[in-house]
Protein backbone atom coordinates (compact mmCIF):
# COMPACT_ATOMS: atom_id res chain seq x y z
CA UNK A 1 0.00 0.00 0.00
CA UNK A 2 1.35 3.37 -1.05
CA UNK A 3 0.81 5.96 1.63
CA UNK A 4 -0.47 9.41 0.75
CA UNK A 5 1.62 11.22 3.36
CA UNK A 6 3.13 14.43 2.02
CA UNK A 7 6.36 16.03 3.13
CA UNK A 8 7.10 19.65 3.83
CA UNK A 9 8.98 22.13 5.98
CA UNK A 10 7.96 24.89 8.30
CA UNK A 11 10.00 28.05 7.80
CA UNK A 12 10.34 27.99 11.59
CA UNK A 13 13.06 25.41 10.94
CA UNK A 14 15.35 28.01 9.40
CA UNK A 15 14.88 30.66 12.08
CA UNK A 16 18.58 30.88 12.91
CA UNK A 17 19.70 31.58 9.35
CA UNK A 18 16.68 33.76 8.59
CA UNK A 19 17.30 35.84 11.70
CA UNK A 20 20.95 36.28 10.87
CA UNK A 21 20.20 37.06 7.25
CA UNK A 22 22.21 34.06 6.05
CA UNK A 23 19.28 32.66 4.11
CA UNK A 24 16.46 34.37 2.25
CA UNK A 25 12.95 33.03 2.14
CA UNK A 26 13.59 31.84 -1.39
CA UNK A 27 16.77 30.04 -0.30
CA UNK A 28 14.69 28.10 2.20
CA UNK A 29 11.98 27.24 -0.29
CA UNK A 30 14.52 26.25 -2.91
CA UNK A 31 16.29 23.99 -0.46
CA UNK A 32 13.07 22.40 0.78
CA UNK A 33 11.82 21.67 -2.71
CA UNK A 34 15.23 20.21 -3.52
CA UNK A 35 14.78 17.49 -0.90
CA UNK A 36 11.22 16.73 -1.93
CA UNK A 37 9.72 18.67 0.96
CA UNK A 38 7.85 21.08 -1.24
CA UNK A 39 5.00 21.83 1.14
CA UNK A 40 5.88 25.10 2.87
CA UNK A 41 4.47 26.10 6.26
CA UNK A 42 4.65 29.84 6.78
CA UNK A 43 4.65 32.03 9.89
CA UNK A 44 3.47 35.31 8.42
CA UNK A 45 4.59 37.16 11.53
CA UNK A 46 8.06 35.82 10.97
CA UNK A 47 8.30 35.66 7.22
CA UNK A 48 6.28 38.58 5.86
CA UNK A 49 7.65 41.93 6.95
CA UNK A 50 4.51 43.82 5.98
CA UNK A 51 2.25 41.65 8.13
CA UNK A 52 -0.65 42.17 8.71
CA UNK A 53 -0.98 44.55 5.77
CA UNK A 54 0.02 42.20 3.00
CA UNK A 55 -0.79 43.46 -0.50
CA UNK A 56 -2.10 41.39 -3.37
CA UNK A 57 1.12 42.15 -5.20
CA UNK A 58 3.17 40.67 -2.40
CA UNK A 59 1.03 37.58 -2.35
CA UNK A 60 1.45 37.22 -6.10
CA UNK A 61 5.21 37.52 -5.65
CA UNK A 62 5.22 34.82 -3.00
CA UNK A 63 3.23 32.50 -5.22
CA UNK A 64 5.53 33.19 -8.17
CA UNK A 65 8.51 32.42 -5.99
CA UNK A 66 6.97 29.15 -4.82
CA UNK A 67 6.11 28.25 -8.39
CA UNK A 68 9.72 28.75 -9.47
CA UNK A 69 10.62 25.86 -7.16
CA UNK A 70 7.58 23.67 -7.60
CA UNK A 71 6.59 24.40 -4.02
CA UNK A 72 3.31 25.41 -2.41
CA UNK A 73 2.03 26.57 0.95
CA UNK A 74 0.62 23.96 3.33
CA UNK A 75 -0.09 25.77 6.57
CA UNK A 76 -0.29 29.18 8.19
CA UNK A 77 0.87 29.64 11.78
CA UNK A 78 -1.33 32.18 13.49
CA UNK A 79 -0.64 34.06 16.70
CA UNK A 80 -3.05 35.85 18.96
CA UNK A 81 -1.79 38.79 20.97
CA UNK A 82 -4.38 38.83 23.71
CA UNK A 83 -1.98 40.94 25.77
CA UNK A 84 -1.40 43.51 23.06
CA UNK A 85 -2.48 46.17 25.51
CA UNK A 86 -0.80 46.43 28.86
CA UNK A 87 -3.95 47.59 30.62
CA UNK A 88 -6.32 44.80 29.66
CA UNK A 89 -6.74 41.54 27.81
CA UNK A 90 -8.35 41.48 24.39
CA UNK A 91 -12.10 41.11 24.65
CA UNK A 92 -13.71 38.02 23.14
CA UNK A 93 -14.85 40.10 20.17
CA UNK A 94 -11.33 41.39 19.57
CA UNK A 95 -9.98 37.85 19.72
CA UNK A 96 -12.49 36.66 17.15
CA UNK A 97 -11.64 39.68 15.00
CA UNK A 98 -7.92 38.90 15.17
CA UNK A 99 -8.53 35.29 14.17
CA UNK A 100 -10.81 36.42 11.35
CA UNK A 101 -8.00 38.67 10.12
CA UNK A 102 -5.71 35.62 10.03
CA UNK A 103 -8.30 33.39 8.38
CA UNK A 104 -8.76 35.96 5.64
CA UNK A 105 -5.03 36.37 5.02
CA UNK A 106 -4.63 32.59 5.14
CA UNK A 107 -7.27 32.26 2.46
CA UNK A 108 -5.72 35.03 0.36
CA UNK A 109 -2.43 33.12 0.53
CA UNK A 110 -4.25 30.08 -0.81
CA UNK A 111 -3.68 28.09 2.40
CA UNK A 112 -6.22 25.67 3.83
CA UNK A 113 -4.63 24.77 7.17
CA UNK A 114 -4.16 27.19 10.02
CA UNK A 115 -2.15 26.36 13.12
CA UNK A 116 -4.04 27.68 16.15
CA UNK A 117 -2.00 28.44 19.27
CA UNK A 118 -2.92 26.01 22.02
CA UNK A 119 -3.96 28.72 24.46
CA UNK A 120 -6.86 29.92 22.29
CA UNK A 121 -10.10 29.11 24.07
CA UNK A 122 -12.43 26.55 22.48
CA UNK A 123 -15.41 28.89 22.81
CA UNK A 124 -13.54 31.57 20.85
CA UNK A 125 -12.74 29.05 18.14
CA UNK A 126 -16.37 28.01 18.04
CA UNK A 127 -17.23 31.60 17.13
CA UNK A 128 -14.69 31.47 14.29
CA UNK A 129 -16.01 28.27 12.72
CA UNK A 130 -18.46 29.99 10.35
CA UNK A 131 -15.67 32.11 8.87
CA UNK A 132 -13.35 29.09 8.66
CA UNK A 133 -16.03 27.13 6.85
CA UNK A 134 -16.75 29.97 4.47
CA UNK A 135 -13.06 30.30 3.60
CA UNK A 136 -12.46 26.55 3.71
CA UNK A 137 -9.63 26.83 6.24
CA UNK A 138 -9.09 24.05 8.79
CA UNK A 139 -8.28 25.47 12.21
CA UNK A 140 -6.02 23.00 13.97
CA UNK A 141 -5.18 23.59 17.61
CA UNK A 142 -1.51 22.79 18.04
CA UNK A 143 -1.16 19.87 20.44
CA UNK A 144 2.17 20.85 21.92
CA UNK A 145 4.04 19.25 24.83
CA UNK A 146 3.40 19.12 27.74
CA UNK A 147 -0.18 18.79 26.54
CA UNK A 148 -1.02 15.57 24.71
CA UNK A 149 -3.81 14.26 22.52
CA UNK A 150 -5.84 13.04 25.48
CA UNK A 151 -5.41 16.15 27.63
CA UNK A 152 -8.74 17.52 28.81
CA UNK A 153 -7.97 20.94 27.33
CA UNK A 154 -7.55 19.39 23.87
CA UNK A 155 -10.63 17.25 24.36
CA UNK A 156 -12.67 20.42 24.77
CA UNK A 157 -11.79 21.46 21.20
CA UNK A 158 -12.55 17.95 19.93
CA UNK A 159 -15.94 18.18 21.64
CA UNK A 160 -16.72 21.48 19.95
CA UNK A 161 -15.71 20.04 16.57
CA UNK A 162 -17.91 16.98 17.16
CA UNK A 163 -20.85 19.00 18.37
CA UNK A 164 -20.71 21.39 15.40
CA UNK A 165 -20.05 18.46 13.10
CA UNK A 166 -17.52 20.63 11.31
CA UNK A 167 -14.47 19.58 9.33
CA UNK A 168 -12.97 23.04 9.82
CA UNK A 169 -11.98 22.74 13.45
CA UNK A 170 -9.67 20.12 14.89
CA UNK A 171 -6.11 19.71 16.02
CA UNK A 172 -2.60 19.97 14.64
CA UNK A 173 -0.19 17.72 16.53
CA UNK A 174 3.37 18.81 17.24
CA UNK A 175 5.51 15.68 17.40
CA UNK A 176 7.37 17.04 20.43
CA UNK A 177 4.69 15.27 22.46
CA UNK A 178 6.33 11.94 21.62
CA UNK A 179 9.64 12.41 23.40
CA UNK A 180 10.68 8.85 24.10
CA UNK A 181 14.29 9.68 25.00
CA UNK A 182 15.80 12.82 26.47
CA UNK A 183 17.46 14.82 23.67
CA UNK A 184 21.27 14.63 23.78
CA UNK A 185 21.54 18.26 22.61
CA UNK A 186 19.57 19.41 25.63
CA UNK A 187 21.65 17.41 28.04
CA UNK A 188 24.86 18.67 26.46
CA UNK A 189 23.87 22.30 26.86
CA UNK A 190 22.95 21.81 30.51
CA UNK A 191 26.35 20.19 30.99
CA UNK A 192 28.03 23.22 29.42
CA UNK A 193 26.07 25.34 31.86
CA UNK A 194 27.48 23.42 34.80
CA UNK A 195 25.30 20.35 35.29
CA UNK A 196 27.42 17.46 36.56
CA UNK A 197 27.49 14.37 34.32
CA UNK A 198 26.29 12.05 37.08
CA UNK A 199 23.26 14.24 37.76
CA UNK A 200 22.52 14.42 34.03
CA UNK A 201 22.74 10.63 33.92
CA UNK A 202 20.21 10.42 36.72
CA UNK A 203 17.77 12.80 35.01
CA UNK A 204 18.09 11.06 31.66
CA UNK A 205 17.55 7.69 33.32
CA UNK A 206 14.46 8.91 35.17
CA UNK A 207 13.05 10.21 31.89
CA UNK A 208 13.90 6.93 30.20
CA UNK A 209 11.95 5.09 32.90
CA UNK A 210 9.04 7.54 32.54
CA UNK A 211 9.04 8.40 36.21
CA UNK A 212 6.59 11.22 37.06
CA UNK A 213 8.65 14.36 36.52
CA UNK A 214 7.79 15.98 39.84
CA UNK A 215 9.65 13.21 41.66
CA UNK A 216 12.77 13.78 39.62
CA UNK A 217 12.59 17.53 40.17
CA UNK A 218 12.25 16.95 43.90
CA UNK A 219 15.17 14.52 43.95
CA UNK A 220 17.44 16.88 42.06
CA UNK A 221 16.38 20.13 43.68
CA UNK A 222 15.94 19.01 47.28
CA UNK A 223 17.73 15.73 47.93
CA UNK A 224 20.74 16.24 45.66
CA UNK A 225 20.80 20.00 46.25
CA UNK A 226 21.33 20.38 42.51
CA UNK A 227 22.88 23.49 41.05
CA UNK A 228 21.00 25.92 38.83
CA UNK A 229 21.68 24.06 35.57
CA UNK A 230 20.76 20.72 37.14
CA UNK A 231 17.47 22.00 38.51
CA UNK A 232 16.70 23.65 35.17
CA UNK A 233 17.39 20.36 33.40
CA UNK A 234 15.17 18.47 35.83
CA UNK A 235 12.43 21.06 35.36
CA UNK A 236 12.68 20.63 31.62
CA UNK A 237 11.09 17.22 32.18
CA UNK A 238 7.88 19.01 33.07
CA UNK A 239 7.64 20.21 29.49
CA UNK A 240 8.57 16.97 27.84
CA UNK A 241 6.41 13.97 28.67
CA UNK A 242 6.07 11.01 26.30
CA UNK A 243 2.57 10.61 24.94
CA UNK A 244 1.28 7.31 23.60
CA UNK A 245 1.97 7.22 19.83
CA UNK A 246 -0.91 4.79 19.28
CA UNK A 247 -3.38 7.60 19.84
CA UNK A 248 -2.24 9.38 16.67
CA UNK A 249 -4.19 6.71 14.78
CA UNK A 250 -7.42 7.44 16.67
CA UNK A 251 -7.27 11.18 16.18
CA UNK A 252 -6.17 11.14 12.53
CA UNK A 253 -9.60 12.37 11.35
CA UNK A 254 -9.07 15.53 13.38
CA UNK A 255 -5.82 16.73 11.81
CA UNK A 256 -4.54 17.42 8.31
CA UNK A 257 -1.10 18.74 9.13
CA UNK A 258 1.67 17.76 11.52
CA UNK A 259 4.48 19.88 12.91
CA UNK A 260 7.34 17.41 12.78
CA UNK A 261 9.29 18.87 15.69
CA UNK A 262 12.87 17.75 16.23
CA UNK A 263 15.93 18.87 18.13
CA UNK A 264 18.70 16.96 16.41
CA UNK A 265 19.22 14.35 13.74
CA UNK A 266 22.24 12.10 13.88
CA UNK A 267 24.58 11.67 10.93
CA UNK A 268 22.94 8.40 10.05
CA UNK A 269 19.59 10.19 9.88
CA UNK A 270 17.98 9.03 13.10
CA UNK A 271 16.12 11.06 15.69
CA UNK A 272 17.63 10.18 19.06
CA UNK A 273 14.70 11.62 21.02
CA UNK A 274 11.32 11.63 19.32
CA UNK A 275 9.47 8.42 18.59
CA UNK A 276 8.93 8.71 14.83
CA UNK A 277 9.57 4.96 14.64
CA UNK A 278 6.21 4.46 16.33
CA UNK A 279 4.36 7.49 14.97
CA UNK A 280 4.88 7.01 11.22
CA UNK A 281 3.41 3.48 11.11
CA UNK A 282 0.28 4.79 12.85
CA UNK A 283 -0.09 7.52 10.23
CA UNK A 284 0.38 5.04 7.41
CA UNK A 285 -2.05 2.59 9.00
CA UNK A 286 -4.61 5.40 9.32
CA UNK A 287 -4.26 6.19 5.64
CA UNK A 288 -3.50 9.76 6.63
CA UNK A 289 -2.83 12.06 3.70
CA UNK A 290 -1.67 15.31 5.29
CA UNK A 291 1.77 16.88 5.44
CA UNK A 292 4.65 16.04 7.76
CA UNK A 293 6.11 19.50 8.14
CA UNK A 294 9.62 19.68 9.59
CA UNK A 295 9.94 21.90 12.60
CA UNK A 296 13.59 22.07 13.58
CA UNK A 297 14.09 23.57 17.02
CA UNK A 298 17.64 22.54 17.76
CA UNK A 299 19.33 25.86 17.06
CA UNK A 300 18.79 27.26 20.52
CA UNK A 301 20.48 24.22 22.10
CA UNK A 302 23.71 24.40 20.12
CA UNK A 303 24.21 28.00 18.99
CA UNK A 304 26.48 28.69 21.97
CA UNK A 305 29.11 26.28 20.69
CA UNK A 306 28.65 25.72 17.00
CA UNK A 307 27.31 27.02 13.75
CA UNK A 308 23.73 26.01 13.18
CA UNK A 309 23.07 24.17 9.93
CA UNK A 310 19.31 23.92 9.78
CA UNK A 311 19.29 22.69 6.20
CA UNK A 312 21.42 19.67 6.94
CA UNK A 313 19.26 18.86 9.95
CA UNK A 314 16.06 19.11 7.91
CA UNK A 315 17.59 17.05 5.11
CA UNK A 316 18.39 14.24 7.53
CA UNK A 317 14.88 14.27 8.91
CA UNK A 318 13.45 13.78 5.44
CA UNK A 319 15.79 10.89 4.75
CA UNK A 320 14.33 9.38 7.92
CA UNK A 321 10.77 10.09 6.81
CA UNK A 322 11.32 8.38 3.47
CA UNK A 323 12.85 5.39 5.18
CA UNK A 324 10.15 5.07 7.85
CA UNK A 325 7.26 5.61 5.45
CA UNK A 326 8.58 2.98 3.05
CA UNK A 327 9.10 0.55 5.90
CA UNK A 328 5.62 1.15 7.29
CA UNK A 329 4.11 0.65 3.85
CA UNK A 330 6.00 -2.60 3.43
CA UNK A 331 5.06 -3.83 6.92
CA UNK A 332 1.41 -3.01 6.33
CA UNK A 333 1.42 -4.75 2.96
CA UNK A 334 3.13 -7.72 4.57
CA UNK A 335 0.55 -7.87 7.35
CA UNK A 336 -2.30 -7.69 4.81
CA UNK A 337 -0.85 -10.43 2.59
Amino acid sequence: MKSQIKRGVSLYSFQEELFLGQLSLEDCVSFAAGIGANGIEILPEQNIASFPNVSDAQIAELHAMLARHGAHFTAYDMFLDTKRRKDRLMSDEEQVESIHRDLILCNRLGIRNMRILIFVRPDILEKCVPMAEKLDVHMGVEVHAPWHLEHAWIQRTIEVADRLNTRHLGILPDMGIFMKHYPPVMRARYERQGARPEVCDFIVDQHEQKVMCEYTIFEVAVKMQGNKAEVAMAESLRHNPYANPKRIYDYAPYFRHIQAKFYEMTEDCRDPALDYDAVIPELVRAGWDGTLSSEYEGNRWIQDVMEVDSREQVRRQHVMFERLIAKAEADLAGAAA
Binding site: Y12, Q15, L18, F19, L20, G21, L43, E45, Q46, N47, A49, F51, F79, L80, D81, T82, K83, R84, R85, K86, L117, I118, F119, N299, R300, Q303, D304
Partner: protein, 128 residues
Protein backbone atom coordinates in the same frame (compact mmCIF):
# COMPACT_ATOMS: atom_id res chain seq x y z
CA UNK B 1 16.25 32.19 21.63
CA UNK B 2 18.52 34.73 19.94
CA UNK B 3 19.88 36.40 23.04
CA UNK B 4 23.51 36.29 22.04
CA UNK B 5 22.82 38.06 18.76
CA UNK B 6 20.80 40.94 20.13
CA UNK B 7 23.58 43.50 20.55
CA UNK B 8 25.44 44.33 17.35
CA UNK B 9 28.83 45.49 18.70
CA UNK B 10 29.96 46.92 15.35
CA UNK B 11 27.07 49.36 15.38
CA UNK B 12 28.17 51.24 18.49
CA UNK B 13 28.47 54.99 17.87
CA UNK B 14 28.09 58.27 19.67
CA UNK B 15 25.18 60.59 18.90
CA UNK B 16 25.00 64.37 18.93
CA UNK B 17 27.80 66.81 18.10
CA UNK B 18 31.13 65.04 17.62
CA UNK B 19 32.82 67.29 20.16
CA UNK B 20 30.00 67.08 22.67
CA UNK B 21 28.14 63.82 22.25
CA UNK B 22 24.75 63.62 23.97
CA UNK B 23 24.76 59.86 24.14
CA UNK B 24 25.46 56.67 22.26
CA UNK B 25 23.53 54.25 20.12
CA UNK B 26 23.69 50.67 18.87
CA UNK B 27 21.48 48.40 16.85
CA UNK B 28 19.59 45.44 18.15
CA UNK B 29 17.24 42.83 16.76
CA UNK B 30 14.20 41.48 18.53
CA UNK B 31 15.42 38.26 20.12
CA UNK B 32 12.26 36.32 19.31
CA UNK B 33 11.28 33.92 16.55
CA UNK B 34 8.65 36.22 15.06
CA UNK B 35 7.92 39.95 14.88
CA UNK B 36 6.01 41.64 17.65
CA UNK B 37 3.85 44.73 18.05
CA UNK B 38 5.83 47.48 19.77
CA UNK B 39 3.26 47.70 22.55
CA UNK B 40 4.40 44.30 23.73
CA UNK B 41 8.02 45.36 24.20
CA UNK B 42 7.74 46.12 27.88
CA UNK B 43 11.28 47.23 28.48
CA UNK B 44 14.71 47.63 26.96
CA UNK B 45 17.12 47.74 29.85
CA UNK B 46 20.61 48.99 29.02
CA UNK B 47 23.51 48.92 31.42
CA UNK B 48 27.16 49.79 31.23
CA UNK B 49 29.61 47.94 33.46
CA UNK B 50 26.69 46.75 35.55
CA UNK B 51 25.18 50.19 36.02
CA UNK B 52 21.67 50.42 34.54
CA UNK B 53 20.49 53.56 32.75
CA UNK B 54 17.15 55.04 33.76
CA UNK B 55 14.27 54.01 31.53
CA UNK B 56 13.87 57.67 30.46
CA UNK B 57 17.36 57.68 28.96
CA UNK B 58 16.40 55.12 26.31
CA UNK B 59 14.82 55.70 22.92
CA UNK B 60 13.93 53.17 20.27
CA UNK B 61 13.74 53.59 16.52
CA UNK B 62 12.89 50.81 14.11
CA UNK B 63 13.34 53.23 11.20
CA UNK B 64 9.84 54.63 11.49
CA UNK B 65 10.52 57.31 14.05
CA UNK B 66 12.03 57.44 17.51
CA UNK B 67 9.93 56.55 20.54
CA UNK B 68 10.49 56.71 24.23
CA UNK B 69 9.86 53.41 26.01
CA UNK B 70 6.67 54.85 27.45
CA UNK B 71 5.49 55.85 23.98
CA UNK B 72 6.28 52.38 22.71
CA UNK B 73 3.77 50.89 25.12
CA UNK B 74 0.86 52.33 23.16
CA UNK B 75 2.34 52.14 19.67
CA UNK B 76 -0.35 49.65 18.70
CA UNK B 77 0.02 50.21 14.98
CA UNK B 78 3.75 49.50 14.72
CA UNK B 79 5.56 46.18 14.64
CA UNK B 80 9.17 45.24 15.20
CA UNK B 81 9.80 43.00 12.22
CA UNK B 82 11.52 39.63 12.69
CA UNK B 83 15.25 39.88 12.09
CA UNK B 84 15.12 43.63 11.48
CA UNK B 85 17.67 45.80 13.29
CA UNK B 86 16.43 48.78 15.27
CA UNK B 87 18.42 51.52 16.94
CA UNK B 88 18.57 51.95 20.70
CA UNK B 89 19.82 55.35 21.76
CA UNK B 90 21.01 56.05 25.28
CA UNK B 91 21.24 59.59 26.62
CA UNK B 92 24.68 60.04 28.21
CA UNK B 93 26.39 63.43 28.13
CA UNK B 94 29.87 62.96 26.73
CA UNK B 95 28.88 59.81 24.84
CA UNK B 96 30.27 56.33 25.26
CA UNK B 97 33.22 56.41 27.69
CA UNK B 98 36.70 55.77 26.36
CA UNK B 99 38.04 52.23 26.34
CA UNK B 100 36.39 48.85 26.69
CA UNK B 101 33.17 48.52 28.62
CA UNK B 102 30.62 45.83 29.31
CA UNK B 103 27.43 46.76 27.50
CA UNK B 104 24.34 44.76 28.49
CA UNK B 105 20.87 44.72 27.02
CA UNK B 106 17.76 43.05 28.32
CA UNK B 107 14.62 42.95 26.21
CA UNK B 108 11.49 42.23 28.19
CA UNK B 109 8.62 41.04 26.02
CA UNK B 110 4.98 40.44 26.86
CA UNK B 111 4.10 37.21 25.10
CA UNK B 112 0.38 36.58 25.25
CA UNK B 113 0.55 32.80 25.51
CA UNK B 114 3.12 32.79 28.29
CA UNK B 115 2.23 33.64 31.88
CA UNK B 116 5.52 35.38 32.57
CA UNK B 117 7.52 37.87 30.48
CA UNK B 118 10.08 36.63 27.99
CA UNK B 119 13.57 37.98 28.56
CA UNK B 120 16.39 38.21 26.03
CA UNK B 121 19.74 39.00 27.58
CA UNK B 122 22.96 39.92 25.86
CA UNK B 123 26.20 41.32 27.20
CA UNK B 124 29.26 42.22 25.20
CA UNK B 125 32.52 44.01 25.87
CA UNK B 126 32.62 46.86 23.37
CA UNK B 127 34.49 50.06 22.64
CA UNK B 128 34.01 52.94 20.28
Amino acid sequence: MFDKYTIDPASLANVGPADAPTGFAFTTKLGYYRGLGLSMVEDLKVSLDGEAFPREAITFDDGNGALSLDEMETAYDRRWVFGAPATVTVALPGGFPAGEHKLALQQRLRISYMPFPSFNNDEKVVSL
